[in-house]
């Protein structure tokens, strides 16, 4: 049985003058139909590179070195560039983070949406424009007919992000990748955008791959989460399970760095140290230099991502299995 997206042993590296950057290092995960999967990690953890690898948009000096990316059962890594062009924007689509730089400043938003339709549908010129206006209306842009003939700089940040989403969903994709779609927006707009994506997900029945560094966004929007650290998946679980029983010390660190809603007296804790250099990764566990629990084994041998309880995987020697969990609170 296969999901909507099965990524197996994905390795993506960048061959820079300073050395080989191991941006994504042997990750496997699955995304089911209609599922919203969250990917969380600091900058440089390999979230965006994972997404661009799935889209096959890795450019030189980057290269996908190994693995399989099965999208609806077919390996995207075996597709020609021409075949990929038919898939991108149609079945597999992506929304980027900075809406101002991600839209062409010299084309109206309507023209940019219509152009995607031109490449994937047989609609007439007029029908494409009409559809573009409909899409702008569908993502909640007021006066869509007027806005369609506006240039990106004439729209607000929230509206631009909606336009970018309208463009990405214009051909009813099966999988929508969102790369930190709300980083440039303020909180109220952020909430509106996620509400919108949630509605669209229901309406079109698409899978969503949401990249973010914000665990609270994931909690409200996704059913499952992957935590990435230094190019590797370090933990994967259902959202509730992850919040209730985080296994990896890094995940626990991330959760401690979210301000609590009630009784916000306790000081927020940050994770000491920095993300390791992806060119010179430490031996053993990548997180060991920052980990309070690390011992001899962690410094020397790299832990595999393995199932601790059903549906909950972690890559940590010190991950506690429930049976041996001391100091639990049941």
């Amino acid at each position: 049985m296969s999901g909507l997206l099965d990524v197996e042993g994905l390795v993506t590296r960048f061959y820079t003058e300073e050395g080989v950057v191991k941006a994504v290092d042997g990750n496997s995960f699955r995304l089911e139909e209609d599922e919203a999967l969250g990917v969380v990690g600091e900058s440089g953890s390999g979230k965006t590179v994972t997404a661009l690898s799935i889209m096959r948009l890795i450019e030189a000096p980057g290269r996908i070195e190994a693995g399989r990316i099965l999208f609806r059962g077919e390996d995207l890594l075996k597709k020609s560039e021409r075949e990929m062009r038919r898939i991108r924007g149609k079945d597999l689509s992506m929304v980027f983070q900075d809406s101002l730089s991600s839209l062409n400043p010299t084309l109206t938003v309507g023209a940019q949406i219509a152009r995607v339709l031109k490449h994937h549908t047989r609609l007439s010129r007029r029908a494409r424009w009409r559809r573009a206006v409909e899409l702008l209306a569908a993502v909640g842009i007021p006066e869509p007919a007027k806005r369609a003939s506006h240039y990106p700089h004439q729209l607000s940040g929230g509206m631009r992000q909606r336009a970018l989403i309208a463009m990405a969903i214009s051909c009813n994709p099966k999988l929508l990748i969102l790369d930190e779609p709300t980083t440039a927006l303020d909180v109220t707009i952020e909430a509106q955008i996620f509400e919108l994506i949630g509605e669209l997900k229901e309406e079109f029945g698409m899978g969503v791959f949401l990249i973010t560094h914000d665990l609270s966004v994931v909690a409200s929007f996704c059913s499952r989460v992957i935590i990435m650290y230094a190019g590797k998946i370090v933990e994967e679980a259902g959202v509730h399970e992850l919040y209730a029983h985080p296994l990896h010390p890094y995940t626990r660190g991330l959760l401690r760095s979210i301000p609590p809603l009630e009784g916000g007296e306790a000081r927020l804790q940050s994770i000491p140290g920095e993300v390791p250099d992806l060119i010179n990764l430490p031996p053993g566990c990548n997180f060991s230099p920052r980990c309070a629990l690390a011992d001899e084994r962690c410094w020397q041998v790299e832990p595999e991502l393995s199932g601790i309880t059903p549906g909950h995987r972690a890559a940590c020697w010190r991950a506690e299995r429930p049976a041996m969990a001391g100091g639990g609170h049941d």
Binding site: L57, R86, G89, M94, L103, N104, L107, R115, H119
Partner: protein, 320 residues
Amino acid sequence: MIVFLSKRLLLAIPTLLVASFLIFSLVHIAPGDPIQVMLGDFQDPELIARLRHEMGLDLPLLQQYFHWLGNIVRGDLGISITVQRGASVTDLILQRFAVTVELAFFSLIIALLIAIPTGIISALRQNKLSDHLSRIIALLGVSIPNFFLGILLILFVGVYLRKPWGAGGYVPLSRGLLKNLAHMFLPAVALGTAYAAIIMRMMRSAMLDAMSQDFVRTARAMGIAPADIVRRDIVKNALIPVVTVIGNSIGYLLGGSIVTETVFRLPGMGNLVIMGVFRRDFPVIQAVVLIIVVVRIAVNLIVDLTYGFLDPRIRYGGER
């Protein structure tokens, strides 16, 4: 739009005033005067004084300046002293203006025809053989002075190949468009080559810049065909800075035409100003240089208007 235009035109007035003052002072600071040139070996002090008085050259400089300025405002560019004694400078310029404009325009077209396509190809095939080749040629193009290229062209086409249109000289339009253009071809190439090289390099770097923009990645992520991405995402955005460079270096074309016209014996404004300088014909020099300044200001304005047309982020008159 109209507000923008009138604002710019108003701003041009002080620019022109300053320019006219600079031109006037520089011409008069330079040693020698037209009377000396006119009289040649026969330097009779009394005659010199009389002629200077007749032409108002003995008045204080500032008074001469305002007198000249006053005439210009009334559309009178003055009377030539030595180039063609007694002829109105306006007539002299009118006779020659078309030649210079034709040369500049022809050079511009040749430059753009060479520069834009090579710049695009060079950027799209970055660090490949065709990119290296066009960059080397561009470097040569900028490095060779246009008068030298002109001489080489005359030597090769005119002297070696013995083509009648390759030896310089001007054929007026009345004797046939083809003949006229044929004689203009080599001067335009000589003048346009260096210009082409400048634009080509600018186009290449603007293309590379546009290619690394996020919206290009968005277009790729939407499955847009490469040809469409090159046309509407890359070239369209790359042209914005290039148009500014094109406009700003129109001055280069006008300046270069002075030398080129001399090499190819073209009776243009450059040729006129050179004669004016040699013979210290103050009214001629002043008028030609002033007209070049006016043309530059006009071209800059046109470029700014084009810029707004290419880049929707710039809109004049405050409408959003």
